[in-house]
C-alpha cells in the first residue's frame, strides 16, 4: 500500500515538476509569476484531444503538435500581454498575468465547453494501459513508465539546452542581470520568447500526460495544477530548475501520502499548506539561491 502510494505520488510529482519548470524558468528570466502558465498546460491537453478527434492524427503526433502550438501560445502571451509592460511596476504585470489566466480559462470554456471530457481512449496505444511490472504488490503500468520516460528525457533536454547551448547561456546571463547581458549583445526579447516557448511546450506535455493518466480534462484543470506546480517551484526554490524538479517530486509524494493517510478531502490542501509553510519558514526553498545558481 505504502509503496503503491509512493509510485503514484512519484508519477504525479514528475508531472508537477514538468509544469513547475515553466514557472521557474520564466521567473528566473523576467521575475514574473506567469499565472497563465497553468492555462497553457490545460490548452495543450485540449489541443491534443482536438487533433486526435478532429484531424484523426495518431496520439504521439498530436502530442508533438500540441507542444508546438503551446510554444506558440506562450510566445504570443508574452508578446501581447507582458512585453509592453517590461518597464512598468511589478504589480501591473502581475495583474495582467492574472487577467490573462482568467481570460484563457474562459476562452477554453467557450471553445470546448465547461464540462470535463474523457480522453479519447481508442487513440491511446492499448499497451499503455497494461501493467508493466508487478513486484511485491506494486503495480507499475506502461503508462506510468511512459510518463517517467517522457519527463526524464524532457528534463535531460532542458539540462542540455540550459547548460550547453548559446541560448541557454543567454538565459542564465539574463537571469543574473538583464541590463548587463543586453550590453554583452544578448537579444533580450528573443531569449525571453524562447524561455516562454520552452516552458509552454513542457507545460503542454504535462497537460497531455495528466489527461491520459486521469482520463479526463476540463477547462478548470489548469487552475489547480498551476497552483500546485507553482507550489512545487517555490518549494524547490523559485528560479532554480533542478529545484523545480525536486520540488515537484516531493510535492507529488507528499500529496499522495497526505491523501492516503490523512484525509483525501484535503488532497488539494496539501499543496497550499506546503506552499504557505515553505514561504513562511524557508522562502529560499529546498535548493535556495545559496546552493544552486539561477538557471
Amino acid at each position: 500500500m505504502l509503496e503503491q502510494q509512493l509510485v503514484n505520488g512519484l508519477t504525479l510529482g514528475v508531472i508537477y515538476a514538468l509544469i513547475a519548470v515553466g514557472y521557474t524558468m520564466v521567473y528566473g528570466v523576467i521575475e514574473l509569476i506567469n499565472f497563465a502558465h497553468g492555462e497553457v498546460y490545460m490548452i495543450g491537453a485540449f489541443l491534443c484531444v482536438t487533433f486526435i478527434t478532429a484531424l484523426g492524427l495518431p496520439f504521439y503526433v498530436s502530442m508533438l503538435l500540441a507542444m508546438g502550438c503551446a510554444a506558440g501560445i506562450g510566445v504570443t502571451i508574452d508578446r501581447v500581454a507582458y512585453k509592453p509592460l517590461r518597464a512598468s511596476p511589478r504589480l501591473a504585470v502581475l495583474i495582467t498575468a492574472i487577467g490573462m489566466s482568467i481570460f484563457l480559462q474562459n476562452l477554453a470554456m467557450i471553445i470546448w465547453g465547461s464540462r470535463p471530457v474523457p480522453f479519447p481512449q481508442d487513440a491511446v496505444p492499448a499497451y499503455l494501459k497494461e501493467t508493466a511490472f508487478t513486484f511485491s504488490g506494486v503495480h507499475l503500468t506502461w503508462l506510468q513508465l511512459f510518463i517517467f520516460a517522457v519527463t526524464f528525457s524532457m528534463m535531460l533536454l532542458l539540462y542540455v539546452i540550459i547548460n550547453h547551448t548559446r541560448m541557454g547561456t543567454a538565459m542564465r546571463a539574463l537571469a543574473q542581470n538583464r541590463t548587463c547581458s543586453q550590453l554583452m549583445g544578448v537579444n533580450v526579447n528573443r531569449v525571453i520568447a524562447f524561455t516562454f516557448a520552452l516552458g509552454s511546450s513542457m507545460g503542454a506535455v504535462a497537460g497531455v500526460l495528466v489527461a491520459v493518466y486521469y482520463n479526463t480534462l476540463s477547462p478548470t484543470m489548469g487552475y489547480v495544477a498551476g497552483v500546485k506546480a507553482f507550489a512545487a517551484a517555490v518549494l524547490g526554490g523559485i528560479g532554480s530548475v533542478p529545484g523545480a524538479m525536486l520540488g515537484g517530486i516531493v510535492l507529488g509524494i507528499a500529496e499522495a501520502l497526505g491523501a492516503g493517510y490523512v484525509s483525501s478531502l484535503y488532497r488539494d490542501g496539501v499543496a497550499y499548506a506546503v506552499l504557505i509553510a515553505v514561504i513562511i519558514f524557508r522562502p529560499s526553498g529546498l535548493l535556495g539561491k545559496a546552493l544552486v545558481e539561477k538557471a
Binding site: L94, T96, G99, S101, I102, L265, Y272, I280
Partner: protein, 342 residues
C-alpha cells in the same frame, strides 16, 4: 457645480432612492449588492492601491467574516450590533496572523500566500461539515433586527424586504468611505503611499515598512469581514461556493478598473462591474454561452487597463503632486534641461 455639493447630493439621492416608484425589490437588491462590492473594493484597494501589494485572497476574509456572522447567528442568536465588531476583529486577526510572517518577503510571495489562504478557507468551509454543513450551505440565518424592547416593549423592529437593508448597507458604505478617506489623508495613508512608491526611500525616511504593511493588511481584512457580515445577514444563506477565487478576481478587477489607489474609482468600478454582470447574465444565455464566460470579459478588461490605462479609467482628477504649481514648474524645468521626466 462646486465640488463640495457633490457628496451631499449623492447622499440625498441615495436616501430618497428606495422611495422612488421604479425602485422595486430587484433594483434595490442590485443596488445593495453594488454597495457591498463598493465596500469590498475599498477594502481591497488598501493593499494593491495604497501599499502596492497584490492580494489574491481577499475573498478569504470576506468568507471568514460571513461565516463568523452566520455561525454566531445560527448557533447563538447574537445580535448584529455585537456581531459586527466580532466578525471584523476575527477577519483582521487572520489578516495579521497571515501577514506577520509573509509581509517581510517580496510582494510576489505575498500574493501567492494570500491566494493559498483563500483556497484553504474554501476547503475548510467545504469539508468541515460538522461546523458549516459543507457544500449544503448554511441556511436559516436570522434577519437583522433592532431590539430596543428593554426601553419600551413595542420598540422591536425586524428587517423585512430589501428597503431596510438598503439603508443599512448605505450606512456601512458611508462608514467605510469616511474611514478610507480619513485614512488616506492621515499619517498612516501617507506612509502607505510612500511604501508603494519606493520602499527603500520610505524606510530611509523612518517609515516602519513592516508595521505599516501589517496594519494595512489587518484593516483590509477587517473591511472584507465587515462586508461578509452584512452579506450573511442580508442573503440569510451562505455556501462555500460564494467565496471562491472568482470573487477575489472580480473585486480586484473593480479596483483595477477604477484606478489603483483611488477610492472613488474603486466605487465606480464596483458599480460598473456589477451592472455589467447583471447585463451579461441576461445576454450570455441568449448567445448560448455559459454564465462563467463573463469572466472572459473581466479578464480582458484587466489586461487592457494595465496595457493602455494603468491608472484606471477614473484617475485622480487632481492628485496632490500633479496639481501643485511648484512641482509642475520644477518638472517643466527638469524636462527643459534634459533631465528625467520622473
Amino acid at each position: 457645480m462646486p465640488k463640495k455639493f457633490l457628496l451631499p447630493l449623492f447622499l440625498a439621492v441615495a436616501l430618497v432612492f428606495p422611495l422612488l416608484p421604479f425602485a422595486n425589490d430587484y433594483v434595490l437588491h442590485v443596488v445593495t449588492l453594488v454597495m457591498v462590492y463598493m465596500v469590498l473594493a475599498m477594502g481591497l484597494n488598501v493593499l494593491p492601491g495604497f501599499c502596492g501589494l497584490l492580494d489574491l485572497g481577499f475573498v478569504g476574509f470576506y468568507g471568514v467574516g460571513a461565516y463568523t456572522a452566520g455561525l454566531l447567528t445560527v448557533h447563538y442568536g447574537v445580535s448584529l450590533w455585537i456581531m459586527v465588531p466580532a466578525a471584523v476583529l476575527n477577519g483582521a486577526l487572520w489578516g495579521v496572523v497571515l501577514g506577520a510572517p509573509t509581509l517581510r518577503l517580496s510582494g510576489d510571495y505575498f500574493a501567492i500566500v494570500t491566494f493559498g489562504f483563500a483556497e484553504l478557507v474554501v476547503l475548510f468551509l467545504t469539508n468541515e461539515i460538522w461546523l458549516t454543513r459543507g457544500p449544503l450551505g448554511l441556511p436559516g440565518i436570522d434577519p437583522v433586527s433592532v431590539d430596543l424592547s428593554f426601553l419600551n416593549p413595542a420598540w422591536i423592529y425586524e428587517f423585512e424586504g430589501e428597503r431596510p437593508y438598503f439603508y443599512l448597507g448605505l450606512a456601512m458604505l458611508a462608514l467605510v468611505y469616511v474611514t478610507m478617506r480619513r485614512l488616506e489623508d492621515s499619517r498612516l495613508g501617507r506612509a502607505w503611499l510612500a511604501i508603494r512608491e519606493d520602499q527603500l526611500a520610505a524606510a530611509s525616511c523612518g517609515v516602519n515598512i513592516y508595521a505599516y504593511k501589517i496594519i494595512a493588511f489587518g484593516i483590509s481584512a477587517g473591511v472584507g469581514a465587515l462586508a461578509g457580515c452584512f452579506f450573511a445577514r442580508w442573503t440569510l444563506f451562505l455556501s462555500p461556493d460564494m467565496f471562491k477565487f472568482w470573487e477575489s478576481f472580480l473585486i480586484l478587477c473593480m479596483v483595477v478598473l477604477g484606478g489603483l489607489g483611488n477610492i472613488h474609482g474603486a466605487m465606480v468600478g464596483a458599480a460598473i462591474l456589477i451592472a455589467l454582470g447583471e447585463v451579461l447574465r441576461v445576454v450570455l444565455p441568449q448567445l448560448g454561452l455559459p454564465n462563467e464566460a463573463r469572466f472572459l470579459v473581466y479578464g480582458l478588461i484587466m489586461i487592457f487597463i494595465m496595457r493602455f490605462k494603468p491608472k484606471g479609467f477614473f484617475p485622480k482628477i487632481a492628485a496632490a503632486g500633479e496639481a501643485n504649481p511648484l512641482i509642475k514648474r520644477l518638472r517643466a524645468q527638469l524636462e527643459q534641461h534634459g533631465g528625467t521626466s520622473r
